[in-house]
């Protein structure tokens, strides 16, 4: 691969950038997914999700970058993002992967994402409900990993992602409404940061 293809520079700014010149694929994709699966697989629930996605052959693609990760219902594909120089799954990568696995599992279970162009309110309501379910699922997996070596990393990442309130509410056995309050405040805070 030439420098031009790797960087999307248009080489020396001397020719127009074409999308195909930008290499979005992550160079350590396999290592990132393997190391994440190694941690997630220590949880019974995590193993279930990994197996389901594997059985149903949901593609997982890791791309370079700092944007959000998640499951694309439109493309029926999981997209994970990680900085181009990251070679081993970080805590936030693992948490996002669990969340994306659960989103894919829900879609496969028949909870289809509505078309946002038809009814934006129904879409928003569905997506926020799914987000909360997936984050709750992340909390369940993290709880199952309490005695694992990565537990502290995962808690730190939940804090960095603004989701420690949801986790605490989950651990305290709070109701779905109370979990939703924590989720909503985390969502508002993340919008504020952007």
């Amino acid at each position: 691969m030439t420098e031009k293809e790797q960087t999307g520079l248009g080489g020396t700014f001397g020719s127009k950038t074409k999308g195909s010149q930008i290499g979005y694929g992550h160079p350590h994709s396999k290592s990132l997914l393997d190391s994440a699966a190694e941690v997630i697989g220590q949880s019974e629930l995590g193993r279930k999700h990994l197996k389901l996605v594997d059985t149903k052959k949901i593609p997982v693609q890791v791309i370079k970058g700092l944007g959000q990760s998640g499951f694309s219902p439109e493309l029926m594909m999981i997209y994970m993002q990680a900085p181009g120089n990251m070679s081993k799954a970080s805590g936030s990568f693992i948490l996002n992967y669990i969340k994306a696995l659960n989103e894919a599992a829900q879609e496969l279970a028949g909870f289809r994402t509505p078309d946002p162009r038809k009814d934006i309110m129904a879409y928003a309501s569905f997506i926020h409900g799914r987000n909360l379910d997936s984050i709750t699922e992340v909390c369940k997996v993290v709880k199952e990993l309490t005695n694992a070596g990565h537990f502290q990393d995962l808690l730190d990442s939940l804090t960095e992602m603004g989701l420690i309130g949801v986790y605490k509410a989950y651990i305290d056995g709070k109701s779905r409404d109370e979990l939703y309050e924590q989720y909503a405040s985390a969502y508002d805070a993340s919008r504020g940061r952007r």
Binding site: T7, G8, L9, G10, T12, F13, K16, T17, K18, G19, S20, I22, Y24, G25, Q61, I63, K64, G65, L66, G67, Q68, S69, G70, F71, S72, P73, E74, L75, M77, Y79, Q81, A82, P83, G84, N85, M86, K88, S90, T113, P116, I127, H128, N131, Q152, L155, D156, T159, E160, G162, I164, G165, Y167, K168, I171, A189, R193
Partner: protein, 202 residues
């Protein structure tokens, strides 16, 4: 960041320039928008953000570009340095601080996210800390200071950084070509460890 949404024609042109043939769905023109923000330290180079709203969370991709040529910001320093080497970087006592703020928000070094703290209120998750921690951070925070060394044509910036739950004071060297080296770090406040709200994790 002061984002300006591009009109439809410019949006389509930008998407056409940056889209990946193998992941065309990620760059769908019907569900995506492109925004642009000016950067004080570049002449003729802006920050572009492409957002695909087809899913939530929305997929976002950021680029440095002049409207025709784009560098994808992949979380490493390489695309920023490559852009700098095109001769469009103009650093001065003021813009070097903006540059560092931009740099640390787009580069993850050693797999550790680092936030450049311009003002104490910039600190991530400040709202989740208790009053004593917020007070300690505010009291201990110092605004960035800049020194220019004309002999070596480089800037030395003393500034607060937030990394791994720690507020640290760092000396950062920035060359005229925008190369960034953090020379030393001194811990100021272990912010999260002081927060009762984080008792679950410390």
């Amino acid at each position: 960041m002061n984002w300006q949404r591009l009109d439809r024609e410019s949006t389509l042109k930008t998407i056409d320039s940056v889209k990946s043939a193998s992941d065309a769905g990620l760059f769908s023109p019907t569900t995506s928008e492109v925004q642009r923000a000016r950067l004080s330290f570049y002449e003729g180079i802006d920050l572009y953000k492409l957002t695909n709203f087809a899913s939530l969370p929305s997929f976002t991709f950021e680029y440095l570009g002049d409207g025709v040529f784009f560098q994808y910001l992949d979380g490493t320093e390489m695309p920023i340095y490559t852009t700098n080497d095109k001769g469009r970087l103009t650093l001065n006592d003021r813009s070097v601080v903006d540059y560092l703020e931009f740099f640390f928000s787009h580069v993850i070094a050693e797999e550790e996210e680092t936030c450049f703290i311009h003002s104490a209120h910039d600190m991530p998750l400040l709202d989740s800390l208790d009053e004593d921690s917020i007070d300690a951070i505010t009291k201990n925070h110092n605004a960035p200071t800049v020194q220019y060394d004309a002999g070596f044509d480089k800037f030395t910036v003393d500034a607060d950084l937030y990394s791994d739950g720690l507020l640290i004071r760092a000396t950062i060297e920035v060359t005229a070509s925008g190369r960034v080296v953090v020379q030393n770090r001194r811990m100021i406040v272990n912010a999260l460890a002081q927060s009762p709200g984080s008792g679950i994790m410390v």
